[in-house]
Every structure is written in C-alpha cells, then in structure tokens.
Symmetry: C2
Subunit: 196 residues, 2 copies
C-alpha cells in the first residue's frame, strides 16, 4: 500500500517534485475532480499552458501518452498512466465568481482558485499567476458546435493518473469545490510521489 | 471610409482603448488570422483568460454576442459584430518553438508571441505575461474525440469582428505569422477604434 497524502474535500496542497519522479493522483471514492497547476521550480514565470499543450498535442482531450507543456514551449510532465481516461484542460479553476456568475450563489464558497492561491502563496505565487489548471478526472463534454457541458466524472474508486516530471516542479493540487463538477458531493483526493 | 491602422504581414501592434470604445479588426484580403490579447489598462495582472471565457460562455466557439472574460472573472470586451463567425480561443500564440517542434523549422521565423512581446514590452509586459490569445478568424476544427486540425480561415476580404471595450484596455494585436493558419500566405490586418 502506497503512503498517500490526503487532500481533504474542498481543500488543496502545494508541493515540489524532482525531474524523473512520478506523481500519482488518485480518486479514492470516485467522481471527484482534482485541479493541477505546474510551475518550473526554479523560475515560476514558466508555468503550465493549456494553449501550448492543446497546440502541440493536437488534441483537446489528454490522457496516457500525452505531454503537458509550459508557456515557454517546454515539456513539464508526461502522463504515464490514466485508469479513467477523461480529463479537462479547457476550463479555469472554479473561483468565488464562478458560483456568483454561474449559480447565483453569493455567500462564501470554497473554490479551487482560492485553494491553489492559499497553498501557492508561501512559494511566492499570486492569484493572478495561477493559470488554467489541468483538471484531472473532470468530465467536460463538447460537441462540434462548441457547446460545453460539465458532467459528473466517470472515475471509479481507486482510479488514478500518473505524471512523470520532465523538469523540477512546484505543483498545486486540489480536491475540487464545485458541486456540478463532482456529482454533487465533495470527496478527498489522494496523491503520492515516487522515484522513477 | 474608416481610417484604418495597418498591421503589416507578420508583425503586431499594441495600443490602448477606453471603456465604451469599439475596436474593429478587419481582414482586408481574406484568410488572415489576427491574435489578440487584452490587459486591464490600470493593472496588467488582469488579462484575458481562455479558461474563464470558455467556462462562463459555456462554449469553445465565440462570436457576436459572446463576452471575453479576464482571469479575475470580469468582462473585458463584448463581441458586438462578426461577419465571418469563426474564431479560436484554444491555441496559444505561435512562437519560434511552434515552428521548431511542429514543423521542424530551425531558422529564424517571425511569430505572434514575438510580435506581441515586442509591442507590449514598452508597456512593461514580459513574454511570460502574454496569455493564450483570442485568435480572430482562426479556423481550428475539432471533433468529439478532441482531435484538433488547423485549417485556412474562412474569412473573405473585408470580413471584420467588432469588440466593445467593457473596461479600459491595453490591446496586443498581430497579423499572424504561421503558414498553416493563414492558407500559406501572409497578409496585413487592419483595425480602427471608434467611440460608441
């Protein structure tokens, strides 16, 4: 049994990993999204880029075998395993405004943007620096007209995605806080890092 | 006849506009892409966000009636007219690495990222600050498997898109430098700004 670190529901973590190490992100109960952002550990100006990744990978959908690229056109991680197979790289992390604008909910609501910012601030990252996240297990459907629908994840308990670091990284990772993205309930996310 | 400013082929411009003004971006010869990035004129940490826009607009494809949003979940511009109807907000601006990685071209090649950076640097914007652009007239096709194909634009000579500024803006705009995005030839882009 691997020694997982637990991200409690509606929270996040930030941590570093070295080139060559493998990060496993696991959904212990199923149907739970985890937003992931990546920064070059030695120069935070370099960060994960949806626009560069979709361009170089020539695909909106990314799974085992695909690479996630930086805004400087360099490889950050390779997806080395993906037992579920559906992730999203279109939508920005949910923020308090997401709940105000899309759900007319105006009280306090935890969000991935808040949880990423809170955990990355000790490293010197500000909220404006948080890019569009790679949304592990997020089930965003689209058709050729471009219409987007967010459905519950298809992930089952124990499903996981593995990322091999292709440079030294600072990682932000959440257990997502949005009702509609997670089948209506908030579950933890587990992760661990191992040497290759 | 409007007094257009000309962006020569494979170059770019940066300029400011005030809330309420309307920017018209016109393709004088047809089949020419123009990459556009937007910053809050009074705080460059706020910039155009593909991830927030696709989320709030619930669509990958954006045309007249749609709004382009910032990373702080605020409205930057409303698309008030679009005579062509096909634009892209998936792919990052072409960079010298685009030509190296995707086309195995290793000599100097102009790029939208270089042209945006060069023109925005006098305002204090660095290359790392340049976000995924809204790619006017760019014809990126995709299917439900996620597979992306870049086809020549469908724009005809004189086609234009109008953007109404919803805040004071710093704008970066190019005549795109990538062969495959522009039907193999490089043409100018014309623009003008008028009061509403």
């Amino acid at each position: 049994m691997e020694n997982y670190t637990i991200i409690p529901p509606q929270t996040g973590k930030a941590f570093t990993m070295k080139k060559g190490q493998i990060l496993t992100v696991m959904d212990p109960q199923g149907k739970q999204v985890s937003d992931m952002v990546l920064f070059n550990l030695h120069d935070y100006g370099e960060r994960i880029s949806s626009g560069k990744t979709l361009d170089f990978e020539e695909s909106i959908l990314l799974t085992a075998g695909n690479t996630l690229w930086s805004n400087r056109s360099r490889k950050m991680v390779r997806i080395s395993a993906d037992t579920n197979g559906r992730n999203d790289f279109l939508l920005a992390p949910c923020s308090k405004e997401t709940f105000e604008i899309m759900y007319d909910y105006h009280d306090y609501h935890p969000s991935c943007l808040e949880n990423l910012t809170k955990n990355l601030e000790p490293f010197g990252i500000t909220q404006d620096d948080v890019p569009t996240a790679f949304n592990i297990f997020m089930n965003v459907q689209f058709d050729v007209s471009g219409k987007i629908s967010v459905l519950p994840p298809t992930s089952k308990p124990g499903d996981y995605v593995e990322f091999e670091a292709l440079m030294d990284l600072l990682v932000g990772l959440t257990a997502c806080s949005a009702e509609d993205s997670n089948g209506g309930t908030f579950k933890p996310i587990h992760y661990f890092i191992k040497d290759n």
